[in-house]
């Protein structure tokens, strides 16, 4: 268990940068008046970010991941359980990777 003192300024600077991002957006919105239009804009962010997380995985075009996304969406539609759908997707990818390697 060692802690090099010369590393502390670096870790502290990184921590500060990280928290500035986490707190900054929230803080800035103090100065923006919440209109229905702004609320509608912010409400659209999660769906867009989800697409932003899924799309690159799909765009890489590996068969296990593509199949995993398809299985996830299908199970979600059928069962309505996001946990079940996500686990089905992960299992599909794990199986697909194992088969492709094997």
């Amino acid at each position: 268990m060692t802690l090099r003192l010369e590393l502390l300024p670096l870790i502290f600077a990184l921590a500060l940068a990280s928290f500035a991002c986490r707190a900054g957006g929230f803080w800035i919105m103090r100065f923006v008046r919440m209109t229905p239009r702004i609320q509608s804009a912010l409400r659209a962010a999660p769906l867009a970010v989800m697409v932003g997380i899924v799309a690159p995985a799909a765009a890489r075009g590996h068969p296990p991941e593509l199949l995993g996304i398809a299985v996830t969406a299908a199970v979600m539609r059928l069962t309505g359980s996001d946990l079940g759908a996500a686990l089905a997707g992960v299992a599909t990818v794990a199986l697909g990777r194992a088969l492709l390697r094997g």
């Binding site: 986490r22 103090r30 932003g52 996304i69 979600m76 996500a86």
Partner: protein
């Protein structure tokens, strides 16, 4: 508007499935950190304070290659710029709590618990403690997993074989399917998809989420205008 232990509890329990994925990722980071020459304490301190998977992987890699403080800070700012959006979108909810509660919740904010929280909010969750509880649920396995990965070396072997890295993608696909069904937001999805695929081709992946989120915000802004 409350920020209650009952709310923390609901958030904490709801985030457990994602916490498993965080744990696997954290173990992988611990392994990487020890390979890069960070001690167990240094790796754990980094996870507890920087608390960002992509940013830590990038800076630890840079550190091993001799990157300085400034380059590392810029990397963290770039990779974490998406949190500006997350925080902004939480404003209407968290501003009803005390500043202490709000900023504590923001300290523990991650991709997964933000998405879960926004989903819960849509489904009628009122208690802002949900954001805090689901954040803690992701933070603990991140720090503990880093410790274990750093200490125990390679007991998990190759984490990618368990496909835990795919868990966040799968959860997003599931929740997006659900949101899409209930709101019919074809417009937002189409804009987001076009931007995501475009940026992914042109720029490093840290920017894809930022650009896509911004595109969604603009799309939402104009969609409201259309309806009004």
């Amino acid at each position: 508007m409350s920020f209650s232990p009952a709310g923390w509890r609901r958030g904490f329990l709801r985030a457990q499935p994602l916490a498993v994925g965080v744990f696997g990722y954290a173990v992988a980071f611990g392994l990487l950190a020890s390979e890069a020459g960070l001690s167990v304490l240094e790796a754990a301190l980094m996870s507890a304070t920087v608390y960002s998977g992509s940013a830590q992987v990038a800076t630890v890699g840079g550190l091993a290659a001799g990157a300085g403080i400034l380059a590392s800070v810029v990397t963290v700012l770039m990779l974490n710029a998406r949190y500006l959006l997350y925080g902004a979108s939480l404003r209407p909810w968290l501003s009803q709590s005390t500043p202490g509660q709000a900023y504590a919740s923001l300290y523990f904010l991650g991709d997964g618990n933000w998405l879960l929280s926004m989903n819960a909010r849509n489904a009628g969750e009122q208690d802002a403690g949900f954001v805090f509880g689901s954040g803690i649920a992701m933070f603990l396995p991140w720090v503990v997993g880093t410790l274990l990965g750093s200490v125990a070396g390679s007991w998990l072997g190759r984490p990618e074989l368990l496909a835990l890295d795919f868990l966040l993608v799968a959860f997003c696909a599931a929740m997006a399917t659900d949101l899409f069904k209930s709101r019919g937001d074809l417009w937002t999805v189409a804009v987001a998809l076009a931007v995501a695929l475009g940026v992914e081709r042109l720029a490093p992946s840290g920017w894809t989420i930022v650009a896509t989120g911004l595109a969604g915000i603009v799309a939402g802004y104009f969609r409201h205008e259309e309806r009004a």
